[in-house]
Amino acid sequence: MEQTDGTAHSHDHDADHSALAPMELRVRALESLLTAKGYIDPAALDALIDSYQTRIGPQNGARVVARCWVDPAYRDWLLSDATAAIAALGFSGRQGEHMVAVANTPALHNLVVCTLCSCYPWPVLGLPPTWYKSAPYRSRAVRDPRGVLVDFGVLLPADTAIRVWDSTAEVRYLVIPMRPAGTDHLSETDLARLVTRDSMIGTGLLHAPGTVP
């Protein structure tokens, strides 16, 4: 396949499309069958998808982190009983039944992975990104976490130790990033806007104060 100009590129796109069409058909066949059998309610599928597109995502975790930053009593509760402290903000359930929050410090950076599949704290972060489920991340996060962070453009100080949490059972981990300096004047709502999904997995940084509309 030639890739010398824009025409060739669009040809690639067409090839992709025709290769994926069978997948679309196979998925539709299974959904039709399960519906005809009465095993699934298509409206429930729509409701499930809508839940993760609109209601359950990293904006929830960001609220937990912001509350933790402004309320020392909440922080203590979160670090000792994360499941209850997170539920108190309205976030609970599937793939977050048993939560543990781990706080970053200047001496220790936390990073979460599931080397065996794709375990991830859904109530606070939503669905895992593709890279979280990919072989490179799952292979390297435990063995070369500093190298993985470089892939994300994150350079930690050499004297910051990295602790990797491999989610091998039904316990799910939420990283609490450090509150950035110079944010004393920000409200809890504004603080939540600084918190990125990746910062709560441990692979990313916060938005810099002043860069978020």
Binding site: R28, E97, C117, S134, P136, V142
Partner: protein
């Protein structure tokens, strides 16, 4: 050994670069959300459990070549067939040929929010005290298992420290085989990174390990 998991990837070499992704990019093909939702809805039906799903996924021979939602889809087809919910021909072409079998539950749209918010907690009562306490030194079992298990290969036969007791949880190894919940004590266990890989340097790796994975270390 007849059981082989293709999913135990921790520590594999030459894995390539991680490709970051923007926060809003939840799906990359229009069929992916349908696979996600079908998997969750069928999981809620109670015909199989989450550990059986993981076992069905990790043993797919094509696992290394499939995307994650493809893995979910192929495992869902496999579970539907294995549990006699449908025939192979029905699964392949989507045409109903046999009457349905009874399933414990059908997830209705009105129940979705409640079911997601409730989840499926894995903690269970247990009738004996934990064998280990925080601070104890333990050795993880060395031998592989001929069934689904959640002790990663990189952490087998290693010396670690009990950091925390999570309580007694459904034991994935037995649950995946349809042998009941068989609760066991679950521990957070940490390992010095350099004890796992010499080049790992400072820092540590923590796993969650059920008591049968552990033995006292001298």
């Amino acid at each position: 050994m007849t059981y082989h998991s293709y999913a135990d990837l921790g520590g594999q070499e030459n894995a390539g670069a991680v490709v970051p992704e923007a926060e809003g990019d939840l799906f990359h093909h229009s069929w992916e959300p349908r696979v996600l939702a079908m998997t969750l809805a069928m999981g809620a039906s109670g015909v199989w459990n989450l550990d059986m799903s993981r076992s069905a996924r990790e043993t797919l021979p094509d696992y290394p070549r499939l995307s994650y939602y493809q893995i979910w889809f192929e495992a869902l087809r496999r579970l539907v067939l294995q549990t006699d919910l449908a025939s192979q021909q029905e699964i392949d072409d989507g045409v109903l040929r046999q009457p349905p079998v009874a399933v414990p539950r059908v997830l209705a749209a009105a129940r979705v929010a409640g079911v997601l918010a409730a989840g499926s907690p894995a903690a269970r009562p247990i009738d004996h005290p934990p064998l280990f306490a925080p601070g104890d030194t333990v050795r993880t079992r060395q031998q592989p298992r001929d069934h689904h298990t959640r002790l990663p290969g990189y952490a087998r036969g290693k010396i670690g420290t009990i950091e925390r007791i999570h309580g007694a949880h459904i034991f994935a190894d037995r649950h995946a085989q349809g042998l009941g919940e068989a609760p066991e004590w679950l521990y957070g266990v940490s390992f010095e990174g350099a004890a796992l890989w010499p080049e790992r340097g400072t820092g540590s790796v923590s796993i969650d390990a059920w008591e049968p994975y552990l033995e006292p270390a001298p």
